[in-house]
């Protein structure tokens, strides 16, 4: 069936979900971490480590879902390590983050050597497009359950941060550590828990890459998704629901370059491929103002303090 130019729309729709899902998980993880007042730049390493762990466990156990779980646990360990190190006096979380990023990717490459060749079981997909007659649309709407889980996590996180005692504690620790201490809150423990949970989500994001799309473990698997997610959190103004929209937007924009070439728009593909980055820059420039600080930014973040 000929779809022609509709192909671009279908690719952007499908890409939003396919490419956006790992961004969603990593940015939700980073969002929670930053809400507690820490920046974890190490999520790039966590993502790669999660991808490797997920692939390896899926291969050995035959169960991709167990792989996803273990990827999350691996991410949790890395997250906990990051925040534990940051808990010491005069330790800078950005420097530790960069170290953790190198540590995570290095460890994953080292342990992942034997898993480049074999093919692990893939995560199953759900046919949301069964109603459609168009095979292209059907393929675009073949989504993974992790995407739905991601939406649920985003909603739950938004609700919990706003409405629960736990959410209030995280926000207080992120807004003012001094105030939190005055209230008798265990600042370090809350931060360790938040960062570990953030790492858990980022690890799952990594397993999505290796176990579903593009479904491959190799050392070139991540092209900076973990780092971009940090920028996406700022883009999303530290709102979990914002993370969802921004991730979808990003995924869709990233699908634009290849799909335009497939319909015959053959020039300027470097520009089209750069659209997600251009878009981020544009939004940052348009929304920045010298007269006020960013809305929603946790005041304990080292970059804003």
């Amino acid at each position: 069936m000929e779809v022609g130019w509709w192909g671009v729309l279908i690719a952007v729709l499908g890409g939003a979900i396919r490419i956006g899902t790992p961004f969603l998980f990593v940015s939700l993880g980073e969002c929670l971490t930053e809400k507690s007042g820490r920046i974890n730049l190490g999520l790039e390493g966590t993502l790669v480590m999660g991808a490797m762990t997920g692939y390896a466990v899926s291969l050995h156990s035959g169960s991709p879902w167990l792989g996803v779980l273990c990827a999350g646990l691996a991410g949790m360990v890395l997250g906990a390590l990051h925040s534990w190190l940051c808990g010491f006096q005069r330790v800078n979380d950005i420097a530790v983050g960069i170290a953790m990023m190198l540590f995570g990717t290095g460890l994953a490459f080292f342990l992942g050597k034997p898993y480049i060749q074999p093919s692990a079981p893939r995560l199953p997909s759900i046919d949301l497009g069964a109603w459609s007659e168009i095979p292209q649309l059907k393929a675009a709407l073949q989504i993974n359950a992790l995407f739905l889980v991601g939406i649920v996590v985003a909603i739950a996180l938004a609700w919990m941060l706003k409405n629960t005692a736990w959410g209030l504690k995280v926000r207080v620790v992120g807004e003012s550590a001094d105030a939190a201490r005055a209230l008798g809150l265990p600042v370090d423990r809350i931060r360790i828990l938040s960062t570990a949970q953030g790492g858990f989500l980022a690890g799952i994001g990594g397993s999505y890459l290796s176990l579903y799309y593009p479904f491959n473990w190799s050392e070139g698997l991540s092209s900076g998704q973990g780092l971009m997610a940090v920028a996406l959190v700022i883009f999303a103004r530290w709102q979990p629901m914002g993370c969802l929209w921004v991730s979808l937007l990003w995924g869709g924009a990233a699908a634009l370059g290849p799909s335009l070439q497939s319909v015959g728009i053959t020039g300027g593909y470097y520009i089209f491929n750069a659209i997600p980055y251009i878009m981020t820059l544009a939004v940052m420039i348009i929304t920045c103002s010298p007269r006020r600080t960013l809305v929603g930014v946790p005041h304990e973040l080292t970059v804003t303090r």
Binding site: M1, A11, F215, S223, P258, Q261, S262, T266
Partner: protein, 378 residues
Amino acid sequence: MSESRKLTRRQVLKGTAAAGALGMLGNLEWIGQAWGASDKVKMGFVFVGPRDDYGYNQAHFEGKSAVAKLDWVKAFDEEKVPETIEVQKTMESMVKLDGAQVLFPTSFGYFDPHILKVAPQYPNIQFLHCGGLYQEGKHPKNVGSYFGYIDESQYVAGIVAGGMSKSGKLGFVAAKPIPQVLRNVNNYTLGARSIKPNTTVHVIFTGDWSLPVREAEATNSLVDQGIDVVTCHVDSPKVVITTCEKRGIFCTGYHCNQSKLAPKGYLTGAEWNWAKVYMDYAEMIRKGQQVPHLVRGGLKEGIVRVSEYNQVVTEAVRKQADAAKEKFMSGGMVVYKGPIKDNTGRVIIAAGKEHIQTDIWLESMDWLVEGVIGSTKS
């Protein structure tokens, strides 16, 4: 407890002496090995990426593994060596510590300045680079180069792809519009159009050698456009091949055999056969012959090959592909024979003119042949 853990100066000195003695023993052992096994041909291989990438580096590693099986050869390799000063260190340590007689730094970027810097210091060691950068007279005497015309295999794969396509639309996921890539795209297209003149090839440039997510996206959007056979020229074709299999279309491979990744859809593929090149070199060195500075070749010389056809490939298509292969094998095939137009309608090769495979003019290719949908302009 903590007291007894403290090392006294005497203990430290003892330890150092012991370690030194061990180190010397190690050295002696190495010298013994080098002497004892001096009749073996020692070959060192340097790879820019992982050995098992289902792509360029794996193809070289398979060549190394083949030559290492010979009992009169000692082959060693190092993977993931960046195209920086690192490769100089690797080459030097292979010469000094492993006693390499010949080195194969396989990545394009190793040549200038790294090989050119290290080679003059070891005039008795051969430095053989994979690629077309060596120039007679300009570069050191102990440097040479080898490369294969893999576009010949792409031509045959193009025939298979064109023959098996129902829509007459093929897809090509390419990294960058450089001559080597364009030559593969053009050969693939010319191969397909040699049997079905209306075939088109959609090319998508991803912009870099390894971008798994974008390669998967490119493959998906090609499939959405009704393309039913896809091939690629990227560092590791794994993602493209598995995505094709998932979408239920055919694919043809590149670099090495990927049929395991797509048992249903992998029609055939263009493969390197470095084992042949490395075996020949080993033989020459064993016999003490002068190693040639330039080694080139295609299907005829056995440096490249075509993957075994999938069982779904029909008899008629097999015949057409084999006929072209035979013609390459006999040396009678000229792919770039006029009249050939590019995809903007410009005549590139006039009627009656032809450019044979070894023609240096082909190595500066910057155009896409008629039938390709795509542009070399970024």
